[in-house]
């Protein structure tokens, strides 16, 4: 993918930092009082069902990540390979979107009872996509939210998603950046 190395390194760093902020969620929607999140919204000139299908597809997700990493899936269990880090998430769907959430019971320092009598688990929203169809159904407003700061990662993913769904391609420079080979 075409992002410069500094941007890629920054994205990986940001992802790593976000992973360090696993937090407890009591409201069940992945929100809660954890670290600040960022979001971006773009309009994709495709129906909502096509957008949602793309976002469920690990091959598409891998293309959206570009050089940052790859995604594999077994059922609703999605593994995000980001350099040396592997993040396991669970896909959950609602009427208007889908959420990839990371559940990490081992990170809970002091287990406490929840309403079902089990052990509370830390849930981190890894990525959340809300897909709202336009009234005529031909387009979709897609909102991406994550705990990565700044919104750059969300915008990059949505921009690539739109490009892929509308043109069949993601704009790319690699492996032919304009800069010299040693700078790649």
């Amino acid at each position: 993918m075409a992002l410069p190395r500094t941007v890629l390194a920054g994205a990986r760093d940001a992802a790593t930092r976000a992973l360090a902020h696993v937090h407890r969620s009591d409201d069940g929607d992945g929100g809660g009082t954890g670290p600040a999140s960022s979001s971006q919204t773009l309009t994709v000139e495709r129906p909502a069902e096509r957008v949602l299908a793309a976002l469920r597809d690990p091959e598409v997700l891998s293309r959206l990540l570009g050089d940052v990493g790859t995604v594999s899936a077994e059922g609703s269990r999605y593994t995000w390979a980001l350099g040396a880090d592997h993040v396991v998430t669970t896909l959950s769907e609602s009427v208007d979107g889908l959420t990839f959430a990371r559940t990490t019971p081992e990170d809970v320092a002091e287990p406490e009872d929840d309403t079902e009598g089990g052990t509370a688990r830390a849930v981190e929203v890894w990525a959340e996509f809300t897909v709202t169809p336009t009234p005529d159904g031909t387009r979709s407003q897609v909102r991406a939210r994550s705990q990565l700061p700044g919104g750059t990662a969300e915008f990059t993913v949505l921009y690539r998603l739109r490009a892929l769904l509308q043109t069949g391609e993601i704009p790319t420079l690699g492996p032919q950046p304009t800069t010299r080979e040693e700078d790649r």
Binding site: M1, A2, L3, P4, V7, T43, E45, T152, F155, T156, Y159, R162, A163, Q166, T167, G168, E169, I170, P171, T172, L173, G174, P175, Q176, P177, T178, T179, R180, E181, D183
Partner: protein, 390 residues
């Protein structure tokens, strides 16, 4: 392959770099026949526009022959002689559907870097700064062109390479500026700047029916080109106390119906504001020397149109109150070339448009560093330096 690269501010070199290849299924690779300088290149060469990286191949105005085509290229084929607009369009997005091709929503690989600057990213462009995509440029033996069916326009047999070359950028940019003016019969259009884009804006205004076209510049050879090749009237601003007054007088006190600004951030001028701009730009307290832009706003008649084609960054002292109180319409864009190229090639084939006079200097690509020096210094009457890579 050999290519002209940017190694730093005012540091260019012709070097050997990796060849481009088809990367996406709708790509082609062109063998570049001709490629030319553009005034907008000077902004990053001189260090006023950030976002270049050492080793970048630049250049965005070119034509060539297709030598490699991706599997999803259907309307173009290997061997086609084509001219390519500088901004890359996909043909599939909301903006392309509305023929605003330089605003294409899908072709900028570095869109996230540009979003904070513009709010909404532009299309990608060949051989420019990285926020504009970071694509390899055309000052090279070969260049990769995405979405070939949308961006490659076959050159008619009767049109020579040199004439068609400028249909890549200077001609559609200028023509778009004239088109923005909504020219009606009897109109007077003033054009600030007699570089290639300004001259083509003047030619475009003539084609679109302007009764009078008045070109403003200071370089005698460029003003002569406006008179001799375009049939425009001219004003030498360095020999005039006030361009505004000169235009007012020659239009019976009403002013030109539209003004095209075709200079950009490194404009020259006279007067105190011009001195202030130069000083602020020198210490990087302002990106623009915007005298021509301000003059355009002041010179245009009430209710008229100011078409901005020059490349600007952040302009101080823009006369917003003048725009409001005169009821001006400001129109601006990077070129939507794909909208205009077919028409412009027909005008060339029909002899209604002449462009080859813009190529005042021709040389091999190996001499491109010297070509840019001549172009930058406007030496020897240089309008454009044209490079032959092969």
């Amino acid at each position: 392959m050999r290519a002209l690269v940017w190694n730093g501010v005012n540091d260019l070199a012709v070097e050997t770099v990796p060849d481009p290849h088809v990367l996406n299924p709708r790509d082609v690779v062109l063998e570049v026949s001709l490629t030319t300088t553009c005034g907008s290149d000077l902004h990053f060469i001189d260090g006023y526009l950030p976002g270049m990286r050492e080793g970048d191949v630049f250049g965005h105005e070119f034509l060539g022959t297709i030598v490699e085509a991706g599997p999803e290229v259907h309307e173009r084929k290997v061997g086609d002689r084509v001219v390519v607009p500088s901004f890359i369009a996909c043909g599939n997005c909301w903006y392309c559907d509305r023929q605003m091709y330089s605003l294409c929503d899908t072709t900028n690989p570095n869109a996230a870097a540009q979003q904070p600057l513009l709010g909404y990213p532009s299309a990608g462009i060949y051989g420019y700064t990285h926020p504009f995509g970071g694509y390899a440029g055309s000052h090279a033996q070969f260049v990769r062109v995405p979405f070939a069916d949308v961006n490659c326009f076959p050159v008619p047999d009767g049109v020579d390479d040199l004439s068609a070359l400028f249909v890549s950028d200077a001609v559609p940019t200028g023509f778009m500026g004239a088109d923005f003016c909504d020219v009606s019969p009897g109109d007077t259009v003033a054009v600030f700047g007699a570089g290639a884009v300004g001259l083509m804006a003047a030619a475009g205004a003539k084609i679109l029916g302007a009764e009078r076209v008045i070109v403003v510049d200071r370089l005698p050879e460029r003003l002569a080109a406006a008179r001799d090749h375009v049939g425009a009237e001219t004003i030498d601003y360095s020999d005039t106390d006030s361009v505004q007054e000169a235009l007012r007088e020659t239009t019976g006190g009403r002013g030109p119906d539209a003004v095209v600004e075709a200079v950009g951030m490194e404009g020259h001028g006279t007067g105190l504001q011009s001195v202030v701009d130069r000083a602020k730009q020198a210490v990087r307290a302002e990106t623009d020397r915007a005298t021509p832009l301000r003059e355009a706003v002041l010179a245009c008649r009430k209710g008229g149109v100011v078409a901005v084609l020059g490349v600007y960054g952040l302009t101080d002292s823009f006369p917003t109150g003048v725009v409001l109180n005169k009821g001006l319409t400001i129109r601006a864009a990077q070129q939507h070339g794909q909208r205009y190229v077919p028409r412009l090639l027909r005008h060339l084939a029909d002899g209604e448009l002449r462009t080859s006079f813009l190529a005042t200097h021709r040389m091999p690509l190996e001499d491109a560093v010297e070509g840019y020096r001549i172009f930058k210094e406007k030496e020897d009457g240089c309008l454009r330096a044209v490079f032959s890579p092969s």
